[in-house]
């Protein structure tokens, strides 16, 4: 806590009194930098000479600012640097996913005898985007990024959220467009698979986890149900509660493995 200098000292400083020693001037200036009240007192004690000088400086500055180049205009169409990578890396995968969903919806429309394609591939829909969000192939600077303090679960979740923000509406729209496909069964399995990818990815790498899960689902569920032309039990309306529970458990487990997203093993 500092004490305010006396009004007399401020007046002497304003008048540039040669009797003030350097140490006093320094401590006065340090105080003036921090204390608005004393600056106001100093302004009150300024001499006419100083006032004239300040006016002249202000006029000179105004003239130079008017003569100089105009400030650069903000470019509205240039997205923040940190978003541009995400757009370049994630958009191709996400748009591919959405086209596959549209194709599946069309197939389901033309071949009503087969089980709903959309429902069968919906759980895998976010996985290509999630794999691209945290992989050595999609992110050339992966090793640099892995070593920064910002890397970690928060960053993975932010990128995953960006993917989900695009894929989930697409899923919901296709689900509502196709007759007889419950929206909960379109969304919950895809969330469960996203959580499973991140959890498994913390052990073996997100890209490998996504590829593995896609392979397992295709071999264990999609292929048999197309062969027998019947929806599997896991995609019956009654199993929605189970999918919700599985999603919650997997999501909780991810937070226990949070620190492995700071290391290279998750890439």
């Amino acid at each position: 806590m500092t004490t305010h200098p006396t009004l007399a000292a401020i007046d002497r400083y304003a008048a540039a009194d040669p009797g003030l020693d350097e140490a006093t001037v320094w401590s006065l200036e340090v105080h003036l930098e921090e204390c608005a009240d004393c600056r106001a007192r100093l302004a009150g004690g300024t001499t006419d000479g100083s006032r004239a000088l300040i006016d002249r400086v202000a006029q000179e500055l105004d003239r130079e600012i008017a003569a100089g180049p105009a400030p650069a205009r903000r470019r509205w169409f240039r997205p923040a640097v940190r978003h541009r990578w995400a757009v370049a890396a994630l958009l191709p995968w996400v748009s591919m996913t959405i086209s596959v969903l549209a194709a599946a919806a069309l197939l389901g429309h033309w071949m009503p005898s087969l089980p709903s394609f959309v429902l069968l591939v919906a759980p895998l829909a976010p996985l290509p985007g999630v794999a691209a969000a945290w992989s050595r192939r999609a992110d050339p600077a992966w090793e640099l990024i892995a070593g920064t303090p910002a890397a970690g679960l928060t960053m993975v979740l932010r990128r995953t959220a960006a993917v989900l923000a695009l894929v989930i509406p697409a899923l919901a729209v296709t689900g509502m467009a196709g007759a007889g496909t419950p929206t909960a069964l379109m969304l919950l399995p895809s969330l469960a698979f996203t959580a499973a990818t991140l959890l498994l990815g913390s052990l073996i790498g997100v890209r490998r986890a996504a590829l593995g899960l896609m392979g397992v689902w295709t071999a264990a569920v999609v292929a048999p149900s197309l062969a027998v032309a019947e929806l599997p039990v896991v995609l019956e309306p009654a199993s929605a509660g189970v999918w919700a529970a599985v999603t919650a458990v997997l999501a909780a487990l991810i937070f226990l493995r949070a620190d492995s997203f700071r290391r290279l093993t998750s890439y």
Partner: protein, 266 residues
């Protein structure tokens, strides 16, 4: 009045910036660093060793991107093995990996300031720090050129700029002189000496003459272990005319390696 937190009263002076005891690090399934003891203080340290000696794996462990499989590793007085919180240590780290990946469409300035943002620097300090880092590596004329238009040597320098943008206390450079021409190497040595006056710099390289010229200390590893540690002058004193090499430092290097291999064979 306010309470002073424990973090503020903690000592900021530690005997070693980098300290490893019986450190083990895996590269894949293979233990590339096996029982390494190392202590590095302020200064420029050259990391030498043959191919496959575990240099890059050691650098990655020091950059905290690989988790040690065993032993103890302390950076700036904080343990970074196991489940430690790496965030505060990483803010004081600079790292240039051997395979320096970059975004081709970013300009040098955008790339360096993006890395500064990832290193959680205060937002207001980023533009000035970026400009300073680019100036220090001599890329000011190319600051607004896209990375894909730069030559190999310029890319390396952009990589060094992103490593030093946060004024790191521990700077890890893995093969930074690859692609630099002789004049740029001289400038680079000057920069290393400058940074090494108040930070711990570890430079991994194949070029023995770089180490002899720019480093205050030489660290020699082979097969995942520390073989020798000393000053460049001591290194040159190790070899004599009977050892392979074109300079005194190279002869010293091959003399130490030969001795360590003979000991390992026994």
């Amino acid at each position: 009045m306010r309470a002073v937190s424990e973090a503020e009263t903690a000592t900021t002076i530690h005997p070693w910036a980098v300290q490893a005891e019986a450190l083990q690090v895996k590269a894949g399934r293979h233990l590339a660093v096996d029982g390494l003891d190392l202590a590095l203080g302020t200064g420029v340290h050259g990391l030498l060793g043959p191919n496959g000696a575990g240099k890059t794996t050691l650098m990655r462990a020091l950059a905290t991107v690989l988790k040690p499989a065993g032993g103890q590793l302390t950076l700036l007085g904080q343990p970074v093995d196991g489940r430690a919180d790496l965030r505060s240590v990483r803010r004081a780290l600079g790292y240039l990996p051997q395979h320096f990946g970059f975004y081709p469409r970013f300009t040098v300035r955008e790339f360096v300031s993006y890395m500064a943002w990832l290193k959680e620097m205060p937002k207001a300090a980023i533009p000035a720090a970026t400009q300073r880092a680019i100036d220090r590596v001599g890329l000011a004329a190319k600051a607004d050129a896209r990375l894909k238009t730069l030559s190999g040597g310029m890319l390396r320098r952009a990589g060094i700029a992103q490593a030093i943008v946060n004024d790191p206390q521990v700077l890890l450079l893995d093969e930074p002189t690859v692609g630099l021409d002789p004049e740029q190497r001289l400038d680079f040595r000057e920069l290393l000496r400058d940074i090494g006056t108040d930070a711990c710099v570890l430079v991994s390289t194949h070029l023995v003459e770089d180490v002899a010229a720019a480093c205050t200390e030489v660290v020699l590893v082979n097969e995942g272990r520390l073989v020798w540690q000393g000053t460049p002058t001591q290194l040159t004193a190790q070899g004599d005319a009977s050892h392979a090499g074109d300079s005194a430092a190279e002869r010293g290097y091959s003399a130490i390696l030969r001795r360590s291999r003979a000991e390992a064979a026994r």
